[in-house]
Symmetry: C2
Subunit: 127 residues, 2 copies
Amino acid sequence: MTWLDQVAWNNDGLVPVIAQEHSSGKILMFAWMNREALQLTRETGHAVYYSRSRNKLWHKGEESGHTQIVHDIRLDCDNDVVLLTVEQQGGIACHTGRHNCFFQQLQNDDWVTVEPVIKDPKAIYHE
Amino acid sequence: MTWLDQVAWNNDGLVPVIAQEHSSGKILMFAWMNREALQLTRETGHAVYYSRSRNKLWHKGEESGHTQIVHDIRLDCDNDVVLLTVEQQGGIACHTGRHNCFFQQLQNDDWVTVEPVIKDPKAIYHE
């Protein structure tokens, strides 16, 4: 039984993944991996996710250049959640051009954006 | 449209939730909430999750006493992941009696337990 077999993949063959920034401890993003993505993440040292909307591997930063260098890979007590500790290249993890994806804070009864856009997404993605 | 309506609940009416410790920045656990759980979390200031295995609300710490006092509630860019920042009562978030659930670290090709059991689960749960 290999380390990949020990992961409790869900019915879709995926596992949820939390990416945390090594230097700041901030949560950068949340995504999914299939077996191949986790294997590639391990082999290359760069985060590779599985895009559920595009149904394919997603080499984080393949378009933006905002790759994630992996420091640590952890598995939780039920073997069904992965935690990556990473160094975020470019300091931008979110497709909105912000440092991280968790920029909406609940204040009273509203979600308020509390993190600035560091770089215009139009300047990040050239499609 | 209320703040609860803005959450992009999945087909099961759930949203994934990451719980991060306020003081240390460490990821304590990963769980799920339904609409009622998130509303109760907001109203009571204590983390309430939804147990998919037991199909019911799970007031974190209801049995162990290891409740989580909520400091901050965040929503991600796609409105489909919640991040809680919490104060972990008793310093134990995991049902194994460890500080957090992410205690298995990938070393070479093995998942190695790298966090100690703080309290024997038998002494935490009296069933």
